[in-house]
Amino acid sequence: MNDHILEARGLKKAFGPKEVLKGLDLSAARGEVVGILGRNGSGKTTLFSILLDLTAADAGTAKILGARPDGSGRVRSLIGYVPEKPAFHGFMTAKQVLEFRAGFFPSWDMAKALGLCRKLELDPASRVSAMSKGNLAKLAWITATAHNPELLLLDEPTSGLDYLVRDHILNGLIHELTEGGKTILVSNHRMGEMGGILDRVCVLKDGVIAASHAAAFLAEEAFRAAARLESPVALPDGVVALNGSGALREFAVFGRERLEKLKLDPAFAGAEISPLSLEDSFKVLLGE
């Protein structure tokens, strides 16, 4: 049964002459944790903006938990959104922010929100204008999850945060997953730190999802091969040149089958094989 929480088809968006999204397809099943990998300026924010019904797509459709982004903002009541730069009204305290937001979400759980404040060590009486970046991130996390949305959209949830706060956020994420039934769409520059949590990684490149890989695949079947090449060689599928000069070259190989094929390839005789870290896999995917 098709239990896709999120389905976007053919999303197009251009700002003047510049085309940012060129027919993007994306879907996420219930309970999936999907990472969006993309360079700065690749259209991640635009994509999130369209999904959140904050920007109108030029073409294409999107359906989130049965609702469409149609300008009414209804979709936002079903999504927990942590923006890249969380902002709240400076004159409010954390508690006032929570009480204010509570008025907009029928499924708001104030007890959960306050409990999260305690757990994340956020003083409910602290004023937003005096909050550090870390505290703002905590507050953003709490406001996103307090109404128990089925879909979480996280835009760089840990960027710029110190280790401890980052830990809090990731723990919170895992906690939400433990509750069950939550789908998460997350974009992160340091995707590596979330490698264990992700189910799937989508690479956003040239305005579309250029590639989509299971996280387990990247963790278990990505290799680094160092070989000596006497003459230039056409690279088979799934093999990407990394670096090296002269005859000594390094390659990334995705997939155990491809690795076996490579090992049998006479051009790559005597190659040194070692595992490719998740970070490096991501870098390769981005650069491709």
Partner: protein, 648 residues
């Protein structure tokens, strides 16, 4: 949505509190610092008026402008967009909060003024603004918000809103000025409502388009922005269109040059012409029953832009007189123009015979050779109105009669001087009679009559040309009452009617020479009596005494029968024609009525054109021999004796 509005209030709490506080503080300040010439309440009222007309507009621009630019700011967007409320409604929340704050401030000021505005103490512009205050304040608030949202800047938005307000307000003010002149040429209520609706709809529509274009970044931004601009400019259209229509219509408004009679020895010989002015274009012309016109003053309505918006109607005084050669003499005088004396005809045109630059007043004088008496700064001057083209010879009246000059110097007044002049100069002329000192002898141009108990008029008696020549009607005392005597040429005086009648006071000649008058009031008295629930209208018609050209006398002719039947009959009644026993009357500006000799018998009644009937409060009809010339709101009309009317 409610929470968003509360949030917006909270965000602008500081500036709003400061403004509200300033308004409240100005009450004790006004009481403390008032000049001694004002009482406490007056000083507070002046302070509040200052707020309303100067302080509050700035406050509105600040509050609404700040709210608008905040709604489009990145900071506000970042902290409010994640909420599950559509972006348009978020903007509307800001607008609603700004509008509510404006309303609260206005209410506070209004309450402090005791819920009443002393409109009479304000000049016209301020009174207009005060009576339309809610509209102007709403306009300013809505537009300051919307334009600040569009331009993302409170100052720019506020100034732009104020500019648009001025552009819309000036024609509205102008139209209000027109209405104030009681010329209901355009349905102001409709225009004002339409403008108000366009303001509200334009604001909401423009905000929706701007939100979609700039917040939601929909495609086609330039087109949406253009439409938004058009929507915001739309409310200026009805006032300007209304003003253009008003100007067009006001250029059609005609008004008689009063006094609305043509002086003539023999009215039945006078040409059927009317001296007409167009108060809003400055045109003055003589028009006849065929519609031919001769210009007296030209159209000078192109008097510049301030005059476009604030036309000042200029009214002309003047007189017309029929000359013995059938030509018409016209005197016209406007406060800012030198007076003119012209001669000619409507068909052939009028020629300028004398320019009268520093004339205060002038009067035509009838006689064998008509003349004109002009009051200048240094006295009265007289000139004979000679036909032809030559200049007129003016003589200072003082020089003419020592007696008259004595009376003037001793200060018995200008009228006395004129009267003395007439007596001395023209008493021997036909058409003017004087009563001798013995109280019984009436002399005029060779004729002499004895009228027992004749009432000594202080002014000469003007004659009336009846069928047998120049006759005079002299009022006399008879026992405890009065009588009117008729002095026909060549015959002895005879008692005409048993009531007081004095030509010019309550006795007139119709254009065809028929004499008519009334012994009591000339207008209809309408009493409404309630008879056990039902109201009964009772008309009290004047009683007319009529002397036809042939010499037939009709006394106490009443029109009750007719008046009862005619709805909305009101105003003065005048006899305008008698022909073969049938009588024609005009009733106010409403009806032309033709009756037979029997007032209770059959009659015909025709209504005058609507453009004169309902808009004018003063009679603008001039009966002539062939019909009635009517100066109306939309030009000059002519109605013949069978009720057929046409516009000339």
């Amino acid at each position: 949505m409610k929470n968003l509005i509360i949030l917006q209030f909270r965000k602008s709490l500081l500036p709003f509190s400061v403004l509200a506080g300033a308004v409240l503080l100005s009450v004790p300040a006004a009481l403390l610092f008032r000049p001694d010439s004002l009482t406490g309440p007056e000083a507070v009222n002046i302070a509040m008026l200052f707020w309303a007309l100067a302080g509050l507009p700035l406050a509105i621009m600040a509050l609404a402008g700040a709210a608008g630019s905040d709604a489009s700011s990145d900071a506000a967007r970042a902290s409010e967009q994640p909420l599950p409320e559509s972006q348009y409604r978020q903007v509307l929340a800001g607008l609603a909060a700004a509008a509510a704050q404006t309303a609260l401030l206005i209410l506070a000021i209004y309450a402090i003024m005791g819920f009443s505005v002393p409109l009479d103490k304000l000049n016209f512009v301020n009174a207009h603004v005060a009576s339309h205050y809610f509209f102007y304040a709403a306009f300013l608030a809505l537009y300051a918000f919307t334009l600040s949202y569009a331009l993302r800047n409170a100052v720019a938005g506020g100034i732009a809103a104020a500019a648009l307000l001025a552009v819309t307000a000036v024609p509205l003010l102008s139209a209000s000025l027109f209405s104030g002149l009681m010329l209901d040429l355009v349905p102001m209520a409709f225009l004002n409502s339409l403008t108000g609706i366009l303001v509200l709809a334009g604001t909401l529509g423009a905000l929706s388009l701007l939100c979609r274009a700039y917040a939601r970044k929909e495609a086609g931004r330039a087109v949406k922005a253009l439409f938004a601009a058009l929507l915001l400019a739309a409310p200026a259209l009805p006032p300007f269109i209304g003003l253009a229509i008003l100007r067009g219509k006001s250029a059609e408004v005609t008004w008689p040059v009063f006094p609305l009679t043509i002086q003539a020895d023999a009215p039945q010989d006078a040409p059927g012409v009317m001296l007409v002015q167009k108060p809003f274009t400055g045109e003055v012309f003589l028009i006849d029953e065929e519609g031919r016109r001769a210009a007296v003053f030209p159209d000078d309505s192109a008097r510049g832009l301030p005059n476009y918006f604030f036309p000042v109607p200029a009214f002309v005084r003047g007189q017309t007189m029929a000359g013995p050669d059938g030509s018409v003499w016209v005197y016209a005088d406007r406060y800012d123009k030198p007076g003119v004396l012209m001669n000619g005809s409507a068909a052939g045109g009028l020629k300028l015979r004398a320019a009268m630059p520093d004339s205060w007043r002038a009067n035509f004088v009838r006689g064998k050779v008509p003349g004109i008496v002009e009051r200048r700064k240094d006295g009265y001057y007289y000139a004979q109105l000679t036909p032809g083209d030559g200049p007129l010879k003016w003589e200072n009246v003082k020089n003419i009669t020592g007696e008259a000059a004595k009376r003037w110097i001793t200060g018995t007044g200008a009228e006395a001087l004129l009267d003395a002049f007439l007596r001395s100069r023209l008493a021997e002329a036909p058409g003017v009679a004087v009563l001798a000192a013995d109280g019984r002898t009436v002399t005029a141009g060779g004729g002499k009559w004895t009228v027992p108990g004749a009432l000594g008029p202080k002014a000469p008696l003007i004659g009336l040309r009846l069928g047998d020549g120049m006759s005079y009607v002299v009022p006399a005392r008879e026992g405890k009452g009065y009588a009117a005597y008729l002095c026909p040429p060549g015959k002895a005086a005879r008692r005409l009617w048993g009531d007081y009648f004095r030509p010019g006071a309550n006795l007139w000649a119709a254009p065809d020479g028929t004499l008519w008058g009334y012994s009591r009031k000339s207008s209809i008295v309408l009493t409404v009596r309630k008879l056990s629930g039902a109201s009964k209208k009772e008309f009290d018609s004047p009683q007319f005494n009529i002397l036809t050209r042939e010499g037939k006398s009709i006394e106490s002719f009443r029109l009750d029968n007719v008046l009862r039947d005619l709805p909305e009959a009101e105003g003065d009644i005048a006899l305008v024609r008698e022909e073969k026993g049938e009588l024609w009357f005009t009733i106010g500006n409403g009806y032309l009525v033709k009756t037979g000799a029997n007032p209770n018998g059959p009659y015909s009644a025709w209504r005058f054109p609507e453009s004169v009937r309902e808009k004018y409060w003063r009679s603008t009809l001039l009966p002539t021999r062939n019909g009635i010339l009517i100066a109306a709101m939309d030009g000059v009309h002519f109605m013949d004796w069978e009720g057929k009317a046409k516009r000339l």
